[in-house]
Amino acid sequence: MGVLEFIHQNIDIIYLVILMIFVGIELISHVPSVLHTPLMSGANAIHGVVIIGAIIVMGQAEGVLSLILGFIAVILGTLNVVGGFVVTDRMLEMFKKKK
């Protein structure tokens, strides 16, 4: 029915999602606990990729409401990306210094 057809039409994406779940698990499964905090922060920055969605809706926005909401969305997304990467960098900078 509807759901099955939906799955069929998006089967590539579904494969991708499943593979990425395994990649994500594999990538960080041997991380020492020392790096948990920076890693979490780095991952936090990476999900800032949501900003691309915000840019797309913003670029297609017509009407004041969409424009305002899109504007806010891009700002928040940028905060996530920039703040996330800068904070992570600052944390990791401290690890580097002592050797």
């Binding site: 999602v17 936090n44 990476i46 297609q60 904070v87």
Partner: protein, 469 residues
Amino acid sequence: MEHILVLIYLIASVTFMLGLKMLSKPDTAQRGNLIAGLGMTLAIFATIFLYRDGQGNHLGNLVWIFAALFVGTVIGYIMAKKVQMTAMPQMVSFFNGMGGACAALISIIEYNHMLHMTEAVDIMDSGKMIIILAGLIIGSVSFAGSMIAYGKLEGKINDFNLPAQQVINIGLVLGIAVLSGLFVMDIVTGPFWFYLILTLSIFYGLLFVFPIGGADMPVVISLLNSFTGVAAACGGFLYDNYVMLIGGILVGSAGTILTVAMCKAMNRSLLNVLVGNFGGGGASVSSDGGAQGSTKEITRSDAAILMKYASKVVIVPGYGLAVAQAQHICHELENLLEEGGVIVKYAIHPVAGRMPGHMNVLLAESNVSYDKLVEMEDINPEFNTTDVVLVVGANDVVNPAAKTDPSSPIYGMPILEVEQAKNVIVMKRSMKAGYAGIDNALFYQPKTFMLFGDAKDTLTKLVSEVKSL
């Protein structure tokens, strides 16, 4: 041009995977972060200039996009640069909340867009609606939850328990699920229901984090982090955008594993963290703490003598050290003792500080050498050859009840076995219990001496005492 965009998205996706991989090793971590950041920048600018919609139109409103990017960059950069290292966990939580809100806003705009566009709802639209709703719900839960986590760690919001909290939470989840189902099936339609789902989700996010105690907050932040990842992936689904999908799902799954790893370090199950809170419930357990008795205080000069003439001193830093900003003076004490020929090491419990690894960051900030920070498994066998253990602002991680008392809420949590050492000096502000809200039998042992006061203040005075010897 579209081919180039696809290629850039591919490159960006690889940088995310590479970045995460490199972030999990100390030597490459910083470069990994940089690489992922470059990939992100590339993807953002490529989207702005190269993206075309189905009809081949470029993106409009470029001025607004750049204005928003500029504002976000400036604010984000300043916040990230100015934040104290001790406040790092709440900063991460704040940025995470921003990402969640961004995902939720995208869903809101897309829904409004759909309202104007379509009259007939076919299969694709209900598929699309599922994704829009998923992004809305997950994003707003993540936003609301992260903000509460931020407020709690900043000390602006206290623990808060509604009566029948669990029932209300379960009711909210069911309510959101049922409403969403009805909405997708078109049984209920219209903006009213859409925004009702949004409101309920925000409520759920608030109530879900409200009762969780400070000690468990890192786990919650990590969990919400992976939520936001999933919300970002929903956006990827919506726009058939692989870089969003890959970035989001990677963080979603990696974040979940990280959450589980953090729980393991504290010997608690995720369910336990989410449902039971030991901050509130644990307080009543303390009455039968067992090892009551009297504690002995030690003067600063005696403590200084004890350490000065020891051959090996192990410092156990806890969050108390971090809040007092005492890491620098602690390092000074370490240097002073080392000059006098004392071997000094730091024993780092996996959850010392506010998050796993947080204490390492804080001590690294004050130039403590990396090889002095010894992890729990490696330092535990060394305690019986240690003359003095100096516990600074730590409590639960040195509580022997975790090993000996099966009725204790922290029973089974791996601890630093400081009671093996010849002498233990506990530096604490008062006899108040730690985060777990339970008494600590260590304090009543004959070899334990208490040194009350603010960590920074006491350490400073201790340093001058050692100097004068």
